[in-house]
Every structure is written in C-alpha cells, then in structure tokens.
Symmetry: C2
Subunit: 464 residues, 2 copies
C-alpha cells in the first residue's frame, strides 16, 4: 500500500497553541507521526491527520475536545491502529487522539469480577495483569488491540460463542462528547434498566459519537480446566453440520473455529505443521475436568457422525498452545503467501443454517477466479473471513478481491445475514450498511449522530 | 389501589374515525377497557387512555402511528400489563396500543436456534411451542409478560446469570417510529457490527422511542440435565459470600436466587412448606450429568465453608418443580401477608462485593420500622427486591415503604449500583435516573428522544 497521501491542511493556529499548552511535547505534527496515524491495518487509502495528540487523562481529552469544538476541528480516536475498515483514516484532517499513552489499569475487583481501565490498555496487557487473580478478559479479536478501540469497534472474536463480545463484557463507559461534555454510561452493577442503553450505543459507534475515556469491564474466572481439539472433515458442509449438532445438543464450547483447506495449507506452509489439508474445526471446552471430558466425548461422537477423522485432543497446556498457535497464525500465514502481501480481510456473518451454503458459494467464486484464499471463521456464531493477501502493485488481484467481496456481502444479505460480524463499517462498508438496513433505519442512525454531534466533528466521513 | 381516575379527554373525531376504519370493533372507548389499560401491576396512580387499539399486524400499527402522528396524539404500548414502575399509565391520555392480540409465533428455526415472534406472544406461550423442539427461551421476569413488553422494559430475571436478559437474547427488532416509519434493527445473524446498535437502544426504552412490532429471539437448547438445590445460611453475608465464591471458582450456575428469612417465612405460610426460616439460596446447574454433578459437589463445599446446613438437592423433575414453586410463589406469599395487600416492589442492583452490606443495611431499616418485608434477589447478578404488600387505604405503611425505598436507592447509588436492575424507570424512578446518571448523561438521552420523537408522542411523561 502506498503511503503517499494528499498534503494535510494544518490546524488553526489558535488551536495548535491550545493543544500545545495542554499536551506539551505530546502534541505532534511530525510527518512520520501523521502518516502513522492515517490508517489502520487495512487496504483503504491512508488519510493522515493534521496533528496527533497523545493524551494521558480524561481531563486532557475534555480540554482537547472543547478546544477542537471551538475551532470546528475533527477528532479521530486512535488506539493500537488495528482496525481494518478504514475507521482511522482522517478523511477530513483534524486531530488524531492517540489513546495508547492513556493506558493505566485503575482497579481490579476480584469479588465483583470486574476492572476499571483507561482506553489505551491493550487486551494482552490486561490479561497479564489479571493472571495472578485467577481472572481473564475473554474478548479476543486476534490483534492486540486497545480496549477502548475494541469497545468503539464492537469487537468480538474467538471466545464470543461462550463469553460474548464487547457488548456483553462492557459494564460502563466514561466518555467525552464532541462539545467536551463528559458522560457516564452504565454502572458498576452487573445489570441496569436505568434509561437508554448508552453503553451499547457507544459500543460499535466507531468513534463517531464520543471519545471513550474509561471502561468498566466484566471479567471471568479462569476455567479450572480447558480441553482443546482439532478435527478435519471431508467438506465444509459436514464441519458446519457438526457445529450445529453440538449447539443443538446443548454443548457449550468456548470456541468453535473453522479453517478451510486453503487456510490449513497456508498454516502448514507457514508454521511447518502437517495438519491434513481439509476443512478443520478447532474447538475448546472450558469448565471442570468432568464437564470438559464429557462434552469432548459428545463432540467427538457428533463430529464422527459428520464423517470426521478422529479428533486430535490437546489436554496438556503445551499441546494446547501448539494447536492454537496454528489457528492464530492463520492471518500471517495467509499474508505470507504473496511476497510483500498486504492484508485485505472480509467479514460477514450469517445464520448458522445458511453458513455452509454461504461458504461453499464463496469458495466456488474463488475457484472460478483461480484463487487460493484462506477462509477462517468463528463458525459457532456464523461469522467468517476471507484472508486475501495482495501485493501493493497488484491492481488485478485487488479488483478480483473487490468483486468477490461485493458478491460475498450480497450473498450474506440474501441469506439474512450482515455485511460485518465484527470489523465494523468504517469507510469500506458505507454502501453495504445502507443496503442492509434501508434508508429509514440509517436515517435513525444519522438522526442520533446529529443529535449528539451536530457539527460532525467526531470521526467524520465514517459509517454514513 | 383506587381505580378512580380523572376523566379522560376523548380523541379528535377525525382520529377516532380513522382508527375505527382501521380496527373496526378492535377500537374501544369502553370505560372498563380504558381503566384496565391505565395501569400495570404497580402502586402508581392509574391514568387511563382515551381509547384502546387492539392491533393484529404491523400494517395496522403503521397506519395507527401515522394517524396519531397527524393528530399529535400520544401512543402507549401495552402488553400483558405487568410492568411495575408506571410504564403503562397514560399520563397524557392518547391511545393505548394493545399488542396482546398480535401474538403469532411466525417461525421457529431449530438450526439457527432462533425464532420470529409478534410482540404480543408471551414467554410461556413461546416456551410451550418450543418444548417439542428441544429449545427454550430463557428470560424469566416472573410474570408471564409479552415478549414485546419484555424487550421494551429490558427485562431479565432468574436465569440471567447464565443466559443473559433481553439484551443478550434479542437478535433483531422490527419497530414503528412516532411518525409511522418502519425500521429494522439487527439481523438474523448471531452478531453484527453494522452501524449503531439500535436493537439495544430500543431494548429498555420503555416504549418512548418506537412501537416494537416484531422480534427475532435467540433460543437455547434445553439442557440435558438440571440439578436444583436449596440451602440455608446463618446470615445474608454468608449466603452472599458463598455466591461470590462459586463465581470465583468458575462455577457456571444457571440461577442463584436468595430469599431472606422473612421471605422464607412468607413462603412457608403461603405454600405450607417447612423450610428453615433463614437466609436461603436456591441454585440450579444446567448441563450434562457429570458437569452438573461436579458443579453441585463444588457448590456444596463452598456453601459449607460459609456455615450452611446441608444442601437439599432436587434431582428429580418433581422435586425440582416443588422447590422452584416455592421460589416463584414468593411474590404472592408476600402479597398474602396483608389482607387485600397490593404489591409495591423495589428493585436495585449493586456490585456483588457490596451486596451483603446493601441488604443488611436495608434489613436494619425494616427492623427499625418494625416491618417484616420479604426480600428476594437474583443475587448472582447483585439484583434484589423488597416485596412490600400494602392495603389500599394504609397511607402510613405506604409512606414507610416510600421512605425505605428512597434510602435503599440512595444506598445502591453510594455503593456504585443502579436504581433499577430490571424494572425500569417509568414514572416511579425519574428523579433517581437523574441522580444516578447526572444531568449531562440524561441530556444525551433526551436528545435521542427528541431526535426520534420530536413531538413526544410515544409514551410521553416517562423516563425524564
């Protein structure tokens, strides 16, 4: 991807001065810093901000928002920079508010199974701090994203099947509105019916309604026992049928991940493993020893009913790590298939009963285009991704990817699904949002946006 | 409670004519019908509508909303009439839109573990229809409420600890806005990051943002095995300590319900049971036989650590029903303590670590007022209720209840909790909402209300 971008208009001098007085040398207009803040991990054209503000406290964010509001200057929240639909592109310039420097874990409450964190804390940083307490934070989108960014994107991932995504695991938010007003959503209680659910409204709003400055997160006890397995199937349809059977039998897996043949081949090549190169499920059960053993046995029977070969159980921590390493490397394995390849990742989610159909039609599209593109999915939720890897100058392959993506989203819509299970709308899926929801429903969203941010200062140009 | 209410202004003749032409004899202005629609199951002063519209389809709701919008007439959604914070009172007259006649189950999809229902379907009606499919809908607020009403109130209840409340179990909504526009939120997929989370915004909005005309609900496999137990403790603090220990040990109970000594005494009297009259937990594990057995054994140890007497396990269906009958009868047992007593139910939710403190201080308040008021709680979530029973003419006891309630909410707030875990704001908790959230956050809520319903036609006078 090219890093050449249009020249950036600078901020009004009065605003520059104010931000420098608030932030000192944490205010930057260095070209390299601006370029770095003009994109996430995506194929979208970069668009750098006019300035970057490395914030360290709510008070600074408040002062910054008031100053930007006075000067009608856009504010674009920036976390770890791992979003993939162009959420971070500063398409109208403005100030990138970098939260990576606001990353303190403020409280961990084992009795309440919750914690209070600043938005720049990453999920790995949090889990490291929690380990000694017997607790963990389950949401795992793959990247080591910041928790503020994960909330803003409505992230989910591998463990969402059992523990839910950010929606289920954020109890409360502190946030700053476009005009610098501060709000508190939710409470420290596990549940509340007090007024509109502003927490959920901010989750997944992609920085367009408020700047998140604090999060109270729900934590979970580290399960006493974990059982992990990998199993291959003759076809995607049979793998998905096994998934449906497990859920219908009341099994409660923590993870149910699918890798198709192309993904398994890419993993084998990248990790030097020798998995059979067929559609495979990686599954995991969390619980007491007896519970996981019993569920594993039932899962094995249901998988065999669908023509699977035997399950490879990983009962020891070391074996588990090896198995999950393979799953977690799928993205990098896909990238590595093309020299200098850059990621171009799709994301749809469909009802489980239509999942096999959706995947198989997509694989037929790929075969017709003579492409080998790994497919991985959080299939217990009906969510999957194609992992394109495209060299920066390969215009033809990019066009192919775009065409296949377009057809994939249309297919997901026709099957009752959504154009994005977890990556969000950003710049990339604005047209799809309108297709999916219709003009009236999108008009309700824009009415909310206008009510909360009438000058369109927060991450302008996204979603709509 | 008195059923005398102020006389009701009638609707504009043009509107009456339109509604009659849409609904025929399902449009009513009979006084008895109006009185019946002027209240829920609450202690708030009734306020009947000017007319009642029994709707049977989305098309009728659409036409009704357009007609009411033209004549600037309030619309108040009415389900089973079981809300308890005055949500159904038609404080500005208008039309009560009764959804009880729009109660078809449109589709049950076992492969997707979801269903599509009209808003007037009750939870018991749905579970009866699901039983043969091996599926169930878990949210249980006690009353046999309509699913539309449960969504509007953001209901939760006994099984929320494991399965979540309405928030976690509504996948998508069809709804009609104040001006008669129809929107679709969510999708048939298990998850989505497509735009603002309007589903969650409508859940718990108490009919102030839209009229819900259809719901896609998440279903769950009926667990292969259920183990239920009842256990007494020397003190509330020890019962709550046992709850916290269970959660910290990674046990995954489906229900964890507390009844205090007064509640156990009321149940014994009402159900002619002989439970020890001490703070008691009712708990339930769902899963495979080994899993529930193992968890039950661990739970028993943890309860003994907190000084409990032995657990009374109910492993047979018949014993389970008997035990849960006692728990479910607590509300009626409380009512029966006072001749002609009417319910006056509180609802706060606090962090688990502060729950015992909150309950004990509340019991001290009751003792000081020489009152025996049963307390029941979904304590796994930190949520509990006081079940006052007050004779209609007992002004003194009502004043006592109000004073104790006021102090209870202030206590919940001071402990980081919320003024309502599941009953909502309605008329009764408007002042508490402001106390809890602060003026800036409530202003965001009212901005959303104004953006979606600028003429304040949907359930006016509630929340704010």
């Amino acid at each position: 991807m090219s890093l050449t971008s249009p020249p950036v208009a600078s901020l009004p001098p009065a605003l520059e001065e104010t931000l420098e007085s608030i932030l000192g040398d944490r205010y930057s207009t260095r070209p390299a810093i601006l370029q770095q803040h003009g994109r996430g991990e995506s194929h979208h054209t970069p668009a750098p901000p006019a300035a970057v503000a490395y914030v360290t406290s709510s008070a600074e964010v408040l002062a910054l928002a008031r100053a930007c509001h006075r000067q009608q200057t856009p504010m674009i929240a920036h976390g770890a920079g791992t979003s993939v639909e162009g959420q971070l592109q500063c398409v109208q310039g403005g100030v990138a508010v970098d939260f990576s420097t606001m990353n303190r874990i403020l409280a961990i409450n084992p009795g309440d199974q919750d914690c209070l964190v600043e938005p720049g804390v990453t999920r790995e940083q949090l889990n490291l701090a929690l380990r000694d307490q017997g607790l963990f934070f389950p949401v795992d989108p793959g990247a080591n994203a910041t928790l503020g960014g994960m909330a803003a994107t409505g992230a989910s991932g591998t463990t969402t099947l059992r523990y839910g995504g950010m929606k289920a695991n954020v109890l409360a938010l502190e946030a700053v509105l476009a005009d610098g007003a501060q709000i508190q959503t939710g409470s420290a209680a596990r549940k509340s019916s007090a007024g509109y659910n502003l927490t959920e409204l901010l989750i997944g709003s992609e920085g367009t309604l408020a700047l998140i400055t604090g999060l109270r997160l729900r934590l979970h006890a580290i399960p006493p026992h974990v059982t992990t397995a990998q199993v291959g199937f003759p076809s995607v349809a049979q793998a998905v049928a096994a998934v449906i059977a497990m859920l219908q039998h009341g099994l409660h897996p923590a993870l149910l991940e699918l890798l198709d043949s192309a993904a398994m081949a890419a993993v084998n090549q990248y990790c030097r493993t020798r998995y059979p190169e067929q559609p495979s499920l990686f599954l995991e059960f969390h619980g007491t020893l007896d519970a996981t053993t019993e569920q594993a046995a039932c899962a094995e029977t249901l998988c065999r009913d669908q023509g699977s070969t035997g399950l490879q159980w990983a009962r020891q921590e070391e074996d588990r790590r090896r198995q999950w390493h393979a799953r977690h490397q799928a993205y990098y394995a896909a990238l590595a298939q093309v020299p200098h390849g850059q990621g171009w990742v799709t994301d749809v989610c469909v009802p489980l009963s239509r999942l096999a159909q959706c995947i198989e039609a997509t694989q037929a599209d790929l075969a017709a285009a003579q492409l080998q593109v790994p497919l991985v999915g959080h299939v217990g939720d009906g969510n999957f991704h194609l992992l394109f890897s495209i060299a920066p100058d390969d215009i033809e392959r990019r066009a192919q990817a775009e065409a296949i993506h377009q057809r994939l989203v249309e297919r997901a819509h026709s099957l009752g699904g959504t154009c994005t299970g977890e990556h969000g709308i950003g710049l990339g899926k604005k047209a799809f949002l309108l297709q999916e929801k219709g003009a009236t429903t999108v008009a309700v969203m824009t009415a909310i946006k206008k009510a909360l941010d009438p000058m369109n200062l927060l991450n302008p140009g996204k979603l709509f």
